[in-house]
């Protein structure tokens, strides 16, 4: 109840922020600007629209998660709104979880909006509609599947941003989280390097890095989605990948709760 109250207030607060709408607007603009690919052949154009669109969702989703989340708790402390909340019968962890859930709602809304926008653009392509509206809609709905998976991975990013913002400041939190995001996005390449590397020490280091760093790359199922085929075991993959994201977020949020419980506000 208390948590839900705080989550709702957080959602409302975020949706009042101009920066979120600007980021969302730019992302939608990029998704909508697909007509610039008109000089490509229809099949290539579709691949480009999907990949550009999914890429824009990935980057701007992360941008929204970072910028909106990192400022949340420091602003409360700075503007002292946190005093009136925490002097009520609210536990510190309830406050953190409430903030986190609020952000989750914000991210969900953003991703769904971007995903649907991309779906609309794709359905707007003549070559897609040619195979029949319902069939095309069903096959391209996997855009939303990829977007939904990304949602769980952006939760990790937000959990990082919250933790870092409790321990440091908004700006440092953004930089640290961005760093984690970039390293985590390279997970596929790190994994490939393990096989290429000859040095066992390097291999161990890379493997440890791969297992410790949050692997945002897990959210990248774009290739099959773009080319419209379903790899074997995809359902299980999605379950595992989501479980991974949730567990990772759980760790970070636990630490955030403990850190915030000991923080003087």
């Amino acid at each position: 109840m208390v948590i839900w109250n705080i989550a709702r207030a957080t959602f409302k607060e975020c949706t009042q922020k101009k920066v979120m709408w600007i980021l969302l607007g730019v992302a939608l603009l990029i998704i909508g600007l697909s007509f610039i690919f008109s000089f490509f052949a229809p099949s290539e154009r579709l691949v480009l629209i999907k990949s550009m669109g999914l890429g824009a969702i990935y980057l701007f989703g992360a941008g929204i998660a970072l910028i909106v989340t990192a400022g949340l708790i420091p602003t409360e402390i700075e503007r002292r709104t946190v005093h009136t909340v925490l002097s009520k019968p609210v536990e510190r962890w309830q406050f953190v979880i409430g903030k986190f859930l609020g952000i989750a709602l914000v991210l969900f809304m953003n991703l769904i909006l971007m995903g649907i926008a991309l779906l609309i653009v794709i359905m707007g392509q003549g070559s897609v509609r040619a195979e029949g509206f319902v069939k095309a809609l069903v096959s391209n709905a996997r855009i939303l599947e990829a977007t939904l998976l990304l949602f769980f991975y952006l939760l990790i990013l937000s959990a990082f941003a919250i933790l870092f913002s409790i321990l440091t400041t908004t700006n440092i939190s953004i930089m640290l989280s961005l760093f984690v995001f970039v390293v985590g996005s390279l997970s596929d390449y790190v994994e490939s390097l393990i096989n290429v590397s000859q040095n066992p020490l390097t291999q161990i280091f890379l493997k440890a890095l791969h297992l410790l760093v949050p692997n945002f790359g897990n959210a990248n199922i774009y290739n099959p989605v773009i080319h419209g085929y379903i790899p074997p075991g995809e359902f299980l993959y999605l379950l595992l990948a989501i479980a991974y994201a949730l567990s990772y977020s759980l760790i970070l949020t636990s630490i955030s709760c403990w850190a915030f419980a000991g923080k003087e506000v």
Binding site: M1, N5, A9, E13, T84, L86, P89, E91
Partner: protein, 306 residues
């Protein structure tokens, strides 16, 4: 059971920029009884807000202990019965007046029609009913202050901790708040009032504590603190020779159109003066125990401390 009790409550802040530790609250022993209005005074930086934040569990004491409503500080259930209004309250300015109250009400676990009734009542009480749908970023300072007071009453608290509740209010609102405080006291609530408005404190508080530089310098009943021990006795009908005799008893005398103002130190001396006047055919017009103003006391203490 005391509403607030602290034992050796101490808070040190480390200032990394100046590389020194600042003692914000130093070994504070304080008791606030249930049902009283306690005025908590002190110049800026005396440690009042730090003390309040420790009592509310927002920051943690370096040493010492404290209880609120009989429970150790930091207890969530206690905060159900306490309410707090910070100095210059900032609320979520994207919310409307009623949304803020609904939000805080929710934090107290209130919901449904009872919450709605409470919100309506409180908006009426602080005279903001017509602005209830307006976002707080469109509120004036006084309106924010009134919303701040409204939110302290959501949970029907046993203890109210108010930090500068009357700053920024126009005179009428100011008086209304003062009356509200007295009404709350009549309902048996304890009020811990931090204020610069010494006139407010003087008018409503039962006891005051004065802090300076982290230390509680004075604490006690307001009358006791302000009493200076001198009586001002207005006398008439004495001839000059008799006046000379009175002068020997009194600490000083002012003459005014054949009347005299006699100041006597202590009750015994005062009685002597009275007896002398009556025995010598004079008349006592009035008799007033002399008091300092709170302001005088405050300035005196702060000056003494340097």
């Amino acid at each position: 059971m005391e509403a607030i009790k602290t034992e050796g409550l101490t808070k040190h802040f480390y200032e990394p920029l100046r590389r020194q530790t600042v003692i914000a609250v130093d070994n504070l022993d304080l008791v606030v009884e249930k049902g009283e209005i306690f005025g908590f005074l002190g110049p800026n930086g005396a440690g009042k807000t730090t003390t309040i934040k420790m009592l509310l569990g927002l920051i943690f004491p370096t040493s010492g202990r404290a209880w609120v409503l009989g429970n150790p500080i930091g207890d969530r259930k206690t905060r159900q019965k306490v309410s707090y209004m910070p100095e210059n309250p900032y609320f979520y300015d994207y919310m409307t007046g009623e949304e803020v109250l609904y939000f805080y009400g929710g934090l107290f676990g209130l919901k449904g029609p009872s919450l709605k009734k409470k919100v309506d009542e409180l908006l009426e009480l602080v005279d903001l009913s017509e602005h209830r749908k307006k976002q707080l970023n469109g509120y004036s300072r006084g309106m924010l202050q009134r919303i701040g007071i409204a939110q302290t009453l959501l949970n029907d608290p046993e203890l109210l901790i108010l930090d500068e509740p009357t700053s920024g209010l126009d005179p009428i609102a100011h008086r209304e708040i003062r009356e509200l405080l007295i009404r709350l006291k009549e309902q048996g609530k304890t009020i811990f009032l931090c204020s610069h408005q010494l006139s407010d404190v003087e008018m409503v508080c039962d006891r005051v504590g004065i802090m300076n530089k982290g230390k509680l310098v004075t604490v006690g009943r307001l009358e006791d603190l302000l009493k200076v021990g001198e009586m001002e006795i207005a006398v008439e009908g004495l001839d000059p020779s008799q006046v000379e005799q009175v002068e020997k008893i009194a600490s000083r005398i002012y003459k005014k159109d054949g009347d005299f103002l006699v100041y006597a130190e202590g009750e015994e001396k005062a009685q002597e003066v009275i007896d002398f006047v009556r025995n010598n055919g004079g008349r006592i017009i009035s008799m007033v125990p002399l008091r300092r103003s709170l302001e005088e006391l405050f300035v005196e203490i702060v000056k003494e401390e340097g």
